[in-house]
Structure formats: structure tokens, C-alpha cells
């Protein structure tokens, strides 16, 4: 394997892992606050279709991204109202949200299927992008990928170093105690859910405006679900989410490369590779029960109301 091929694999790995990274970061914050939102797939699809329609109609990619984020937040707000406001079962509500998002995006995007659009183009930073192996991966991406780097750093910093992160973690571990301290549990959780929605919307718009600039039904292809698994198997640790997302990206690329050089394995088996590889590696990493218990939000998925 020559250097160019590796450079290209790394580059594609980051591009493929980015939507997963974005959704998973949002879900991480959401779950850390104690809310399990299974609606990621639906919110992503809705973000993708809204982003595409807006960008196609107005010609502004950034307006598309912004409204995709708003669309994800809107759906997540719906989830928050039902699951947090009315204390409905979070699993059922999240599943309903995904089914709703799939249907809604198909309905809204029917007229836009197969239309061409020029999406975000890679911007190579001078000199830096010429570094062997990692130059292209880190410094010749489109703006949304750069944004994902920044958002990763932001989430890591907030969750690990700031008081806001501490509050989110406290609310997810013991909402009763947090409430007794005067922390606004439901507001923190609602905001965390909406952050998750915004990230899912952004991830959706990345798919339809940068990764493959077009709209197709169900174009997320289960990435929302993989992101959910990522968060769990990453034991709610932000660096492992990054690792898992790029691992998924890498495995996706490997299966394309393998087909390219004519390895005679059923392409269906190879297509399973990213899902299997990601989950196997993260399961192996999360075997340490103590560490997993330490990072897991104890009251994940449990409804909570003040005054008990």
C-alpha cells in the first residue's frame, strides 16, 4: 500500500465518520443529563431534508445548515415536551420520533429526490494539507468537518472542565439531589435534549450538503442508530466517541477499498464490516465494569418530576 492510498483512506475516514461524530456528541450530552432520546435517526433525516430544500431553493448552503439545525431542535423540543414535560416513556417517545422523522422527511423531500446540488467543497489549508498521511485528513476538509473538530473540542471541554458539565452530569446521576441543591433539572435536561437535536440536524445537513450533496429517502442509513450504540459502548466518554466514529469511518472505507482491489468476498458481508467492527472494538473497550459504572449516567431514561 502506498502513502497516497493511506492518505486518502485517512481523509475519507474522517469524512465518513463526521456525521456519526456529530450525532453521537449530541446524544452523549443528552444521555449524560439522564435522557435517552432514540429519535436521532428521525431528527437527522429531517435535518437532512430541510437542509437540502433550503439550500437548493435559496442557493445558500449555510442557510440550509442553520435551518437543518433548527429543524433538529424543533423535533427534539417535541420530544422534550412529551418525554420531560408529560413524563412519557422515553424509549417509546424516541422510537415514535424516529418513525415520525422518517415519514416526515420522505413526505417533505418527495419533490427534491435526485436533484443536483453543489455542496460544500473541501478547502485545503496551504502547507498544512501537504503533511504526509494526516495533512489531507485534518487540513483539506470542508468547513462542516472543521466545524465538527471545533464542536468536539467544545463538548469535551464543557463536559470535562466546566461547571456546566458538572451540572449536566449531576442532573443525570441523581436528579433528586440536584433538585434539592436548587439546580433546574428539567431545564437542564430540556436544553441537553435540544443540543442533541441541533447536532442531529447538523449531522443530517452534512450528509445532504457535503458528504453526498443530494437528497434521497432514508439517506442516513441507520447512522442515528449506530451513534446511539457508539455512545453506550464508548461508556459515555467523549474521546471514545471520537474514536468510535472514525473507526466506523475507517471500516466503511476499507470495505470500499477492498471491493476496489477486487477481494472476492460478498459485498453484503463487507458492508456489514463498519457496524461489526465499531461495536466489537467498543465492546472490548467497555469491559471494565468499574469504569463503565463511573461514567454511566445512573438515572438514564428514568422519568423525573420535581416535588418527590
Amino acid at each position: 500500500m502506498d502513502i497516497d492510498l493511506l492518505t486518502n483512506i485517512f481523509y475519507a475516514m474522517v469524512r465518513t465518520g463526521t456525521p456519526l461524530l456529530l450525532v453521537a456528541l449530541g446524544e452523549l450530552v443528552c444521555e449524560k443529563s439522564g435522557v435517552l432520546n432514540l429519535g436521532q435517526e428521525g431528527m437527522m433525516l429531517f435535518g437532512a431534508v430541510i437542509g437540502f430544500i433550503v439550500a437548493f431553493s435559496t442557493g445558500s448552503l449555510w442557510l440550509g445548515v442553520l435551518l437543518a439545525i433548527a429543524a433538529g431542535m424543533l423535533l427534539s423540543l417535541l420530544f422534550a415536551i412529551v418525554a420531560l414535560g408529560f413524563n412519557a416513556n422515553q424509549v417509546a417517545t424516541g422510537l415514535a420520533l424516529t418513525i415520525f422523522g422518517v415519514g416526515l422527511s420522505t413526505f417533505a423531500g418527495a419533490a427534491w429526490v435526485g436533484k443536483p446540488l453543489t455542496g460544500f467543497e473541501p478547502i485545503a489549508l496551504p502547507y498544512l494539507s501537504d503533511i504526509p498521511l494526516i495533512g489531507r485528513m485534518l487540513f483539506a476538509q470542508d468547513l462542516l468537518v472543521y466545524l465538527s473538530f471545533a464542536l468536539f473540542a467544545l463538548v469535551a471541554w464543557v463536559m470535562l472542565k466546566t461547571r456546566i458539565g458538572l451540572i449536566i452530569q449531576a442532573v443525570g446521576e441523581n436528579p433528586d439531589a440536584a433538585s434539592a441543591m436548587g439546580l433546574p433539572v428539567l431545564r437542564v435536561r430540556t436544553l441537553a435534549v435540544m443540543f442533541g437535536g441541533a447536532m442531529a440536524g447538523l449531522a443530517g445537513s452534512y450528509l445532504s450538503l457535503a458528504y453526498t450533496p443530494m437528497w434521497a429517502e432514508n439517506m442516513t442509513a441507520g447512522r442515528g442508530w449506530i451513534a446511539l450504540a457508539l455512545v453506550v459502548f464508548a461508556s459515555w466518554r467523549v474521546f471514545r466517541v471520537l474514536l468510535g466514529a472514525y473507526l466506523f469511518g475507517l471500516a466503511s472505507i476499507v470495505h470500499l477499498v477492498a471491493q476496489g482491489i477486487g477481494i472476492s468476498v460478498s459485498s453484503n458481508l463487507l458492508a456489514m464490516l463498519p457496524y461489526v467492527a465499531t461495536i466489537v472494538v467498543l465492546v472490548l473497550l467497555s469491559r471494565d465494569a468499574i469504569k463503565t459504572r463511573l461514567f454511566a449516567p445512573v438515572s438514564l431514561g428514568k422519568p423525573w418530576q420535581s416535588g418527590h
Partner: protein
């Protein structure tokens, strides 16, 4: 009390609070002076919890007035209470296990916490000043219960505090740890901080408190200076003239060994749980054996082993034996067939199914009492059985079809205990048999246990209440960090000695190896 209201730290006038179906507080008056350690005494259900929630702003009174340092205030929420200088240490700690000590304290302090460095310094300063050793960087889940309580108290002391409310603080401590806590509280009071000490343990109230307000049935039944009162006088104020307050029961020797636990060890996979270490124990037919210990030292694990909720491998089956028969690999129903009855620590979820009626709950463990024939439930017999329990154990409930979850804790406890005792077991394992039960009912439960013992059953009681264990048990031991002390005849030991066992000091001069084993290194 002839003190002008202005000089009082806290005055409560005519506080009333009604919950659906009960008047929790009925025109309660309470005065606390600066630097006073004031006891709030009362049985479970007397209204102590409600009153303290009102002081701390968790709930609002229906009527009455709170006067803080001479000014009437309306306590809206805990944040307001804290800003006035009121701190509270709850019975069930409100700590975050996955955060460090410093992070827990930072969360409660808000922006006043400053940088992590400054905060750590201040935590060390406060904890040293009041003699409560704490390491700010340790994770809370690796702390003992006593240490967690220190975190709660230090958290209150970090702010300018003028009234500290402690809800049953010694219920989770060994007698020695309680003494250390009292020293801290006395120092605090000497500096002018008022302390409201909520308890039902008369001895410690008399040792610590300057004044006391006694509640009974939601009303103030008396004010007194605890030091000048006898335990019996205080108890009369708390419970009225209930019988059985001073019952003593004859100690007996028992007959054949029924339950034998032999070198029982179990590695707990739960990092927050306790592993059992080579437990040896026998209970004879016709005796009551008591196991003391601070919560979290292996009681839950030992109970799960004995009841069959946690099974061992077949090759270890002989580590638990009923009348010589190996049972450690048998499920709970098989063990019940051999004569086991079991009262678990958790009433709801383990002892009873909350949403099911009392009669259905009765059937759940008593199916071998002729209530089922050919797989069909004999409904009449089940109801009759449940009604018999309700009658004999004076369970307060509308009828046998009431859901278990709607009974008060004490009533449900009586029902569960009654259900087990009525099955005439050969071995009864009971966890915290009178936890949350009022004095009258506790005396009734004690009498029932003694009667069962005298009828020839082997009984094992696991409890945190040393007074209770000394009252009813013929032999006693203590669990500490998953190890069990040797069992000793109750009359030949004393609470101080059992307290040492609870702290892990089993021998007269514990060897360094034992000490190291009793204080395992914290999880990293």
C-alpha cells in the same frame, strides 16, 4: 421559655400542614436559640420530617409563621433557606457518587466555589478546623457512609451557616463515629451555630442536646431539657403510655443447629457492592441470632445468599446448609420448601409487589400453605389467610384487596413479617424487622419473633439498631467490610464492644493484617 423573639435564631409559630388523609403538623411551635443544640424528638410519622422540610423550604406550611432572627420570612425553596444560612444534612445523602468530594461541594456552592484550587484549600481548612478528615479529590463512591456524611456536613459548613439541621445523623454510624460527630457538633455550637438534631434515639439526645421539642401524632407533646429527663420520661412524651417500652425477654440457648454457613465467600461483581469474606455462622433452632453492622458492609449480599436471590455454584452448595442439607445452589422456592421464611430489607419490590393486592402478595410466598390445588388458586383461602395476617398483626388497611404500595412503611412491614411468621417456618431470616415501625408495633413484632423462637424456629435478624438487637437476640455478631465477627452470647457483651466489631476490630488487639483487610484501599 422566657426569651424575647428577637434574640432567637429561629422561631416557628403555629405551623400546620395537611396532607391528603393526615394532618402532619398541627399548630407546632419551636424555638431555637443561637448556639443551641436542639433536639426534635418523635416516632416515625410524628411529623418531624414534615416540619424540617418546612424549615428548609422544601414544602410550604398551610398556616403558621417562621421567624428567622426576629424577622418573619416565607421560605420559598431550599435555595432561599441556604442563602439565609440554613444547612441541612438529609438522612439519605444527596451526593453524586461518580463525582469527587470537591466537585460535589462545588455544585452546591454555585459561583461562590471559586477555582478548584481555592476550593480544595478551603475544604481542607474547614475539615481540619472541625476535626472531620476529608480528601477533596476522592470519588464519593469510594467513601464509607461516615465519610459521606462528613462531606454533607462540610458542604454545609463551607457557607456561612447559622442553623444546621441533621436528620437522624447517627442511624448510619457506628457508636464511635457518632461520638466523633458529637464532638464536631459541640464545637460548632460553641462557635454560635444553632443545630437542630432530629432523632428518636434517646441516649444520644440526652448526651448532646441542650433542649428538646417532642412531637407526637403531628402535635407538640412537650418541651424539655433532655439532660434532666430519664429515657422513660422522654419515651412517654414520644409515644404516650404504650406498653412494651421496657420489655426484656429471657435469653435462651437453642437446640440443634439449623442454619449453618461455612466459609462463605462471594466476590461481588458490582464495584459499588461488598464482597463476602469467609463467613461462618450457625443459627440453632429456638434461638435468635442478631447481626449488627452499618449499612453497606455486606448485609444485602449476605441476605441475598441466604434467601437464594443470589445462587452459588453447585460445588459450593455446602457453604450454606439447612439442617445439614446443602442449599447454596437452590432457588428461593426450593429453600422455602426446606423451611425458610424471609423478610427482605426492601419492602417494596422485594418484600411485596406494590401494585398487587395484599391477598395476592400473601399468596406469593405462602403458596405452600394449601392455598393452591392442582395449579389453581383457592381464592377464598388466600383472602382468609391475608385477613388472618391483617387481624393478628394489627395491619391498618381498609381490606385485603388494597394494593400493597398504598400502605405506610410500618404497616406493610407488619404485613410482610406476619405473612412469613404465619407460615411457621423452621428458619426465619429477617432484615431490619422494625425499620420505620412505631414503638407499639415494634413491640408487637418483637413479641411475635420471640413467640416464634419459643415455638422452636431458628431466627436470624440483621439490623442496624443495636438497642433492638440487644433486646431480642440470644447471640450477636457484626458485619464489617464483608467479614463477620465471631458470634457471642448477648448478655456477655456490650454495645461498645459490638460497635468495635462494626468498625472491623474483631480481636482484642487486631493484627495489622486484619486492619488492612478491614479497610480496603479505595477504588481508583
Amino acid at each position: 421559655m422566657s426569651v424575647s423573639p428577637e434574640s432567637l435564631r429561629l422561631q416557628m409559630r403555629g405551623i400546620s400542614k395537611r396532607y391528603p388523609g393526615c394532618l402532619a403538623n398541627d399548630r407546632i411551635d419551636l424555638n431555637i436559640q443561637p448556639g443551641e443544640i436542639h433536639a426534635l424528638l418523635g416516632e416515625n410519622g410524628a411529623g418531624k420530617s414534615t416540619l424540617m422540610k418546612i424549615i428548609y423550604g422544601v414544602t410550604q406550611p398551610d398556616s403558621g409563621e417562621i421567624v428567622w432572627r426576629g424577622k418573619p420570612v416565607k421560605m420559598r425553596d431550599p435555595a432561599m433557606a441556604r442563602s439565609l444560612g440554613i444547612g441541612m444534612v438529609f438522612q439519605h445523602f444527596s451526593l453524586f457518587e461518580t463525582l469527587t468530594v470537591a466537585e460535589n461541594i462545588a455544585l452546591a456552592m454555585g459561583r461562590a466555589a471559586g477555582t478548584p484550587k481555592q476550593l480544595e484549600g478551603r475544604i481542607r481548612e474547614v475539615s481540619q478546623r472541625y476535626g472531620m478528615a476529608l480528601e477533596p479529590e476522592r470519588l464519593v463512591h469510594s467513601l464509607s457512609i461516615g465519610e459521606r456524611q462528613r462531606v454533607e456536613i462540610v458542604r454545609c459548613l463551607m457557607q456561612d451557616i447559622e442553623l444546621l439541621i441533621l436528620d437522624e445523623p447517627t442511624s448510619v454510624l457506628t457508636p464511635q463515629e457518632a461520638d466523633e460527630l458529637f464532638a464536631t457538633l459541640r464545637r460548632l455550637a460553641a462557635e454560635g451555630c444553632s443545630i437542630l438534631f432530629i432523632s428518636h434515639k434517646l441516649g444520644e439526645v440526652r448526651a448532646l442536646c441542650h433542649g428538646a421539642t417532642v412531637l407526637r401524632g403531628g402535635k407538640v407533646s412537650g418541651h424539655c431539657v433532655p439532660r434532666d429527663c430519664s429515657d422513660l420520661e422522654l419515651a412517654r412524651l414520644m409515644v404516650g403510655d404504650a406498653e412494651g417500652l421496657e420489655s426484656t425477654y429471657a435469653k435462651v440457648q437453642g437446640g440443634e443447629h439449623f442454619l449453618q454457613v461455612n466459609e462463605l465467600s462471594w466476590e461481588n461483581a458490582d464495584p459499588f457492592g461488598t464482597s463476602l469474606r469467609a463467613i461462618n455462622l450457625e443459627v440453632r433452632s429456638g434461638e435468635i441470632v442478631g447481626i449488627a453492622g452499618v449499612a453497606g458492609n455486606g448485609q444485602d449480599e449476605l441476605l441475598a445468599m441466604l434467601s437464594g436471590e443470589q445462587l452459588l455454584h453447585k460445588r459450593d452448595a455446602a457453604s450454606i446448609r439447612f439442617a445439614g442439607e446443602p442449599v447454596a445452589n437452590l432457588r428461593p422456592d426450593a429453600r422455602r420448601k426446606l423451611g425458610l421464611a424471609f423478610v427482605p430489607a426492601e419492602r417494596l419490590g422485594h418484600g411485596a409487589v406494590p401494585d398487587m393486592s395484599l391477598s395476592d402478595n400473601a399468596l406469593l410466598t405462602a403458596f405452600q400453605q394449601g392455598l393452591v390445588s392442582n395449579g389453581l388458586i383457592k381464592r377464598n383461602k388466600v383472602v382468609a389467610f391475608a385477613e388472618e395476617i391483617i387481624r393478628r398483626f394489627a395491619v391498618k388497611t381498609p381490606d385485603a384487596e388494597t394494593p400493597a404500595g398504598s400502605l405506610s412503611g410500618g404497616n406493610l412491614q407488619k404485613f410482610i413479617l406476619g405473612r412469613e411468621i404465619m407460615q411457621k417456618p423452621k428458619l426465619l431470616v429477617a432484615a431490619h424487622p422494625t425499620w420505620g415501625v412505631d414503638v407499639g408495633a415494634a413491640a408487637a413484632i418483637h413479641r411475635a419473633l420471640i413467640a416464634l423462637r419459643d415455638a422452636g424456629a431458628a431466627i436470624l435478624v440483621i439490623s442496624e439498631d443495636l438497642d433492638e438487637l440487644f433486646q431480642i437476640c440470644d447471640r450477636i455478631g457484626a458485619l464489617s467490610s464483608g467479614k463477620l465477627s465471631a458470634l457471642t452470647d448477648t448478655p456477655s457483651t456490650c454495645q461498645v464492644e459490638v460497635g468495635r466489631w462494626m468498625a472491623g476490630e474483631f480481636g482484642a488487639n487486631p493484627s495489622p493484617i486484619d486492619q488492612a483487610a478491614a479497610n480496603p484501599a479505595p477504588l481508583s
